[in-house]
């Protein structure tokens, strides 16, 4: 929905991930929910805002609110866990997940005998 709204209004200066949806009172609306879940009245007005605007000659280390980063980390991890059995069959072994890093061991189960482990640290 956000991507379509931005396209229709010509807002191409920042990608869809950099926008957030709020009600008139400023409450953030979850983008994971269906519109029907909110039970909006017919005359509701929603506001699509940028998460931040930044200017200057440097890029700071952290643009995103740490709480937002943490929430995204937890969401990605939950989605991974839901598919973990499939990942394991492919040889992906998640051995540790502590914000903001995930440690995954990549094996090659199709080899006989199984061999070749590579450990990857994936910072979020």
């Amino acid at each position: 929905m956000i991507a379509r709204a931005l396209e229709q209004t010509g807002n191409a200066g920042q990608p869809p991930d950099n926008w957030e949806l709020r009600d008139a009172a400023g409450a953030l609306l979850s983008l994971d929910q269906k519109i029907a879940d909110f039970s909006f009245p017919p005359d509701v007005r929603l506001f699509l805002n940028l998460k931040a605007g930044v200017g200057g000659a440097v890029i700071p280390d952290q643009f995103v609110d740490p709480q937002v980063s943490r929430a995204k980390f937890d969401r990605e991890l939950t989605e991974y866990r839901q598919l973990e059995a499939d990942y394991r069959r492919r040889g992906w072994l998640l051995v540790r997940a502590e914000f903001p890093s995930v440690h995954v061991v990549l094996a090659t189960p199709q080899l006989t005998p199984p061999a070749g482990f590579v450990q990857r640290e994936v910072p979020s």
Partner: protein, 153 residues
């Protein structure tokens, strides 16, 4: 009607003065600052009506300066613009020395409509001031092939 169709921006002198004062005040503290202009479009003419100095955080980092406006303030501004029937047209900020658009400026603009995006890429006048080191200068000119005049009156 979109901002891309605007051929001329009319800016009251009072708003220019307010803008320069804000940028100078921030510069005197060694900081950068954001100033925004909004108004109403009448065909190819855009009348600037309001100057906004959003709540912002300026950072002095070892690698340079930057300034950030957070989502809560951008929401407040968005609601104000809707209720006032104005649209955001120009984003102005200061750099400590040379006037140019940095990678940060181009990546995280507050004004994200197409005309702003094009402008940040190459041609739009941003009134970027060099305020931390003398001489103080303010650019008031457009550059590039798609330049649009700004009237100060």
């Amino acid at each position: 009607m979109t901002l891309a169709q605007v051929e001329q921006f009319q800016v009251p002198a009072k708003i220019v003065r307010q803008t320069e004062e804000t940028l100078r005040a921030a510069g005197a503290k060694g900081c950068e600052a954001f100033v925004l202009w909004s108004g109403r479009q009448n065909g190819p003419l855009f009348n600037i009506l309001t100057v906004h100095v959003p709540k912002q955080n300026a950072y002095c980092l070892s690698s340079g300066l930057c300034v950030r406006v957070d989502g809560d303030e951008l929401h407040r501004l968005n609601v104000w613009l809707y209720e006032a029937d104005e649209i955001l047209a120009i984003q102005i900020h200061a750099h400590p020395d040379e006037a140019y658009h940095s990678e940060t400026d181009d990546t995280y603009p507050i004004l994200a409509t197409l005309v702003a995006f094009q402008s940040s890429q190459r041609s739009f006048a941003a009134l970027v001031s060099s305020h931390l080191q003398p001489p103080y200068t303010v650019s008031r000119q457009m550059v590039g092939p798609s330049s649009k005049p700004i009237s100060f009156g």
